[in-house]
């Protein structure tokens, strides 16, 4: 089964979540760049002999949240890794605003406007918080230092706990602060599409809710196109506009998030709630 394009803007129903915000987070700023749609067409990718994605087609509409769901081994993380260039697509196209980026290196893809926050390994603990953030601007072309300082301060305003700890080693941050740090670093790359792999992994429920609120705010207020991979399907569908369910490297369902959440059989077979 192939997916239908989302193509729509943010769902009105999620507005309340976006307005909530986390108690530790500051206000979001306007979008840094125009949003863009992401379309993956008939993608085949894998590791050695293993085919982890077998003709996957997914479309993430500009400015919306697309949840990618499925059990362990479904191919969710591989999908993000293929889109960001960490593994080579063997076949298929990856269209960022109609430009095919398949086959490009991760360095080129982040410059094109796709930032990937990988699962559980985003922080470099040996570096300070500020150094971790500065890495996010490595994809920028040369420009005035003032622009970089302003961009950093913008993220510090958005993530106030990071501002207080900017000189501390990232290893001293809590799980929630680390997640803020990796998302802030990804935002500093000025992406048009943000790939988030299990952002709630290992977080306490309260912190997880804050992270989910943040994801919504980034989409609504900054206009980012977000592809969200989550084991917690219930939480992901609650904030997403659109959902895609993978199983063993193939798309088994795609629809708006509310429809997926209402499909009892699908939830029972693939989503675990």
């Amino acid at each position: 089964m192939s997916s239908a394009a989302n193509g729509s803007g943010p769902a009105a129903g999620a507005g309340s979540a976006g307005a909530a915000g986390g108690p530790e987070m500051g206000t979001a700023s306007p979008a840094a760049g125009e949003s863009a749609s992401l379309a993956v067409e008939e993608l085949v990718a894998g590791y050695g002999e293993v085919v982890a994605l077998d003709g996957v087609t997914v479309t993430a509409g500009a400015g919306g949240i697309t949840a990618v769901l499925g059990a362990n081994g479904a191919g969710k993380t591989t999908l993000l890794r293929a889109v960001s260039g960490m593994i080579k697509a063997r076949r298929g196209r990856i269209l960022l605003a109609d430009h095919d980026v398949a086959g490009r290196s991760p360095e080129q893809i982040v410059r094109a406007g796709i930032a990937h926050v990988p699962e559980g390994q985003g922080v470099i603990p040996e570096l300070t918080v500020e150094e971790n953030l500065r890495i996010g601007m490595m994809s920028w072309r040369r420009g005035p230092r003032a622009d970089r300082v302003a961009a950093l301060e913008e993220e510090y305003a958005r993530f106030k706990p990071l501002a207080d700890r900017r000189r501390k080693l990232a290893s001293t941050l809590s799980g929630g602060e680390r997640q803020m740090l990796v998302i802030a670093r990804a935002l500093l790359a000025r992406p048009r599409v943000l790939l988030l792999d299990e952002p709630s992994l290992g977080l306490a429920p309260r912190v997880m809710a804050q992270v989910m609120d943040l994801v919504v705010r980034l989409s609504r207020e900054r206009g980012l196109t977000i592809v969200l991979v989550e084991q917690n399907a219930r939480a992901a569908l609650a904030i997403a506009d659109h959902g895609v369910v993978l199983n063993l490297g193939r798309v088994v369902a795609t629809a708006d998030a509310a429809s997926l959440a209402a499909d009892v059989a699908l939830r029972h077979h693939y989503l675990g709630f």
Binding site: S84, L127, E131, S171
Partner: protein, 292 residues
């Protein structure tokens, strides 16, 4: 007491040379988890280049500078041509490639320059310095050796700590995946790391060879001592490499001075084995804090 001072100062001088080799190994290890067995061969080859330039130009400093530049180029070229193709392959492939490079460099030096022992000039006087009539056991060239390695180390430390290029290199060394996803061209960074390692090796070569002789295998023993220093300090720790070099140099100087110079290689091996058994990550490997 005077003997002790002389042995200590002499140990500091040789320790700084071991530190330069150790630092070059650490630079590559941090970025690639690869022990560059060709490091001594690269240092030897650049020292041959230096001596040829010195003979032709009659200028020590021309040879010194050309050796450093040659080290940069040789390091980068080695990474680009034979090491990079092993990326993504089994780790042993890269190790074997560096051993092959060492054999190639030593064979090439034998073909180009012959196998005979050659002396290498010093940039400053090698007459021992005295303070109030008391010989210190070190010369002006020894002072230059210590200053040159310290200055190079300091420059590298400043570049790594305070510049964007240094941050790029540290990020690539600590987590290549995150670095790539952030737009850092990790392959290019690794090439720069190899180039800097080549420069440090070249520096060690031109500084140590006036005390020894130059021949195709002349840096093998220095490489082993530099490796020992790196293991003492921890292959992940640039500061540890320098301290490890100093500790090893001073320890071997005491052994050579108070016991027997024939024992130094044996003691170095003993230290290497002891460190690997007792503290395999090195004496100065950073303890990583993790908070979940």
């Amino acid at each position: 007491m005077v003997e002790f001072l002389q042995f200590t100062l002499n140990g500091v001088v040789f320790g700084m040379i071991y530190a330069a080799i150790a630092l070059s190994l650490v630079l590559i290890w941090r970025g690639t988890r690869l022990l560059n067995f060709a490091q001594g061969g690269m240092a030897m080859l650049t020292t041959y280049i230096a001596i040829e330039v010195i003979y032709k130009t009659h200028s020590y400093w021309a040879g010194f500078v050309i050796a450093l530049v040659a080290g940069l180029i040789l390091g980068a070229a080695s990474e680009l041509t034979v090491v990079r193709p092993t990326t993504g392959k089994p780790e042993l492939n890269a190790v074997i490639v560096t051993i092959g490079l060492l054999i190639f460099f030593e064979g090439l030096a034998g073909i180009l320059f012959g196998g005979q022992f050659r002396s290498f000039p010093a940039g400053f006087s090698i007459t021992g310095l005295k303070v109030g009539g008391t010989p210190l056991g070190v010369s002006r060239f020894d002072v230059f050796t210590v200053a040159a390695v310290l200055l190079t180390t300091l420059i590298l430390a400043v570049v790594f700590r305070y510049t964007t290029a240094g941050l790029r290199m540290r990020a690539a060394a600590f987590n290549a995946t995150i670095a790539r996803l952030s737009g850092i061209r990790v392959a290019r960074v690794l090439t720069v790391g190899w180039a800097l390692a080549g420069l440090l090796g070249a520096l060690a070569g031109v500084l140590v060879t006036p005390s020894t002789f130059l021949y195709p295998n002349s840096m093998d023993a220095i490489f082993v001592l530099g490796f020992t220093a790196a293991v003492i300090g921890g292959l992940d720790s640039p500061a540890g490499a320098v301290i490890g070099g100093l500790l090893l140099g001073i320890a071997l100087s005491y052994v050579g001075g108070y016991l027997n110079s024939d024992l130094t290689s044996l003691v170095a091996l003993g230290i290497l084995v002891a460190v690997l058994m007792i503290r395999p990550n090195g004496l100065f490997a950073g303890a990583r804090m993790r908070r979940v």
